[in-house]
């Protein structure tokens, strides 16, 4: 396992940094162009959620090798207000209706595996895995 890398999200500008690091790691890991673009988009969404709703947090990357497959784990962590109704934010059309972006359902679609944990008043962790095709 390679050492973990991460980007801190504090300002909007950091979203670009997070995308860049994610894309570089994905490229090195052997992801195709479309998947690189999808990974970057997922990272954008996660980083923007941190920036907009939690104020600050981190996006971290980890390369995973399991049963001959290679994957990228992206973890977004913040200690913001948390999400009171998880089912609601995972509903299509809920966050996107205001034209804000793909929202968490979008991140889920962009990933192969997706996990979301949130504790009100404590923070939110989103983890997604993308496997190299």
């Amino acid at each position: 396992m390679e050492p973990q890398s991460f980007v801190e999200i504090k300002e909007e500008w950091d979203i670009v940094g997070a995308r860049q690091m994610g894309r570089n790691i994905a490229k090195e890991a052997g992801f195709g162009t479309v998947d690189q673009a999808r990974i970057a988009t997922a990272i954008s969404e996660l980083a923007r959620n941190i920036y907009l709703y939690a104020g600050s947090g981190t996006i971290s990357y980890e390369i995973l090798e399991k049963m001959g497959r290679k994957g990228l784990i992206i973890t977004a962590t913040d200690s913001g207000p948390g999400i009171p109704d998880l089912s609601l934010v995972m509903e299509d059309g809920y966050t996107t209706s205001g034209g804000l972006g793909a929202g968490l359902p979008g991140v889920k679609r962009l990933s192969d595996e997706f996990d979301l944990r949130s504790e009100e008043g404590k923070g939110t962790t989103v983890q997604c895995i993308k496997w190299v095709r």
């Binding site: 195709g32 162009t33 479309v34 673009a37 999808r38 970057a40 988009t41 299509d92 059309g93 996107t96 972006g101 793909a102 359902p105 979008g106 679609r109 962009l110 095709r133």
Partner: protein, 337 residues
């Protein structure tokens, strides 16, 4: 899906190559076919752009780096479209599920609210009730008394949609709980008003016309709770008149008392009861006039009551381009000669 992409990728590349060489219509037609197959297999727009990029890289290994970069840029802009497309797809499926659930509810409503048109001596009854959407916000109900009398309720929920339609079953069961009141329209409405006031959301109102007919007296007793007035056809004078009545809609205040009226009917006379879906039928943007409605009714007056209401319904269905804007309920009583 990955396999499908590989097969299509080969076809796509061949077609693209062929088109670049020949610029012929046939390859473009082929492109159209491939595109349809992509849609069928739910391949996302970003995948298609990627197919193009890959095909071009194979066809032109020496392609200018700037152009290559520009294509990556294009790909990036398609990712969000792909997501939006998946979201719409999903919402569409959800909508279909919802539709079928509503149709189950509508069927259930039909069963719950079912009423049989009774045989009453000397009275020919016709009724048609068609919802504008799946759930019907109109309601009619027959209560046949042991003394051979007939109670008829015709009602309309103000405030459409499923909740409104659902509260009609409550009305039906309340009516059946008070059989002794079915002979007194005034008492029936006073009672139902209490039920509606207590149990129904303040945003929902119900209008109802309730009438009781006793064949031995050939007289209609009736009361109205803000319901669209019906019409009485006087065979002797060959003319229609509005059936006058006063009364506030059900559910506004708990202690409303309703007034009761009487209308003697003679052989050849008709009584027309309806909901506002009939009187507010529209021809384009224009509401129909009452005279128009009565003319149409008169036109079919020689038919048995059931055929009559059906013909009148057909007339207005056609007039409104087969798209009802409101639930349509028409009930005609003919005193037989």
């Amino acid at each position: 899906m990955d396999n499908a992409i590989k097969i299509d990728a080969a076809t796509y590349k061949d077609l693209l190559e062929h088109y670049i060489k020949t610029r012929d219509e046939q390859s473009l037609y082929g492109a159209e076919q491939v595109s349809k197959s992509f849609i069928k297999k739910q391949i996302l727009p970003d995948e298609i752009v990627n197919l193009y990029i890959q095909a071009m890289a194979e066809l032109y290994p020496e392609m200018c780096k700037d152009v290559q970069a520009s294509m990556d840029f294009l790909l990036e802009t398609m990712i969000a479209y792909g997501l939006a497309h998946q979201e719409y797809q999903n919402l569409r499926e959800e909508q279909l599920t919802l539709k079928s659930e509503i149709s189950v509810a509508a069927n259930m409503q039909k069963t719950l609210l079912g009423t049989t048109k009774p045989e009453i001596e000397g009275l020919d009854i016709g009724v048609v009730s068609v919802p504008a959407h799946q759930m019907n916000g109109d309601y009619h109900h027959f209560v046949k008394g042991e003394d051979g009398s007939l109670g008829i309720a015709i009602a309309d929920v103000v405030g459409k949609g499923i909740p409104a339609a659902l509260c009609m079953s409550m009305i039906k069961y309340s009516m059946e709980t008070y059989p002794e009141e079915s002979t007194s329209p005034k008492k029936m409405l006073t009672n139902l008003n209490k039920v509606v006031e207590r149990n129904v959301d303040p945003g929902i109102f119900i209008t109802m016309f309730y009438t009781h007919y006793l064949p031995s007296e050939s007289t209609l007793r009736y009361a109205s709770a803000g319901h669209e007035p019906g019409f009485y056809y006087n065979a002797e004078t060959d003319s229609f008149e509005e059936i006058h009545s006063k009364g506030i809609v059900l559910g506004v205040t708990p202690d409303t008392e309703y007034q009761q009226y009487e209308l003697p009917i003679y052989p050849g006379d008709m009584v027309v009861l309806l909901t506002d879906g009939v009187t507010e039928a529209r021809d384009g943007e224009r509401f129909i006039e009452t005279e128009e409605l009565l003319d149409v009714i008169k036109q079919y007056a020689d038919l048995p009551a059931q055929e009559m209401v059906q013909q009148v319904y057909k007339h207005f269905e056609r007039l409104q381009d087969f798209q009802l804007r409101d639930d349509f309920t028409l009930l005609i009583l003919k005193k037989q000669v």
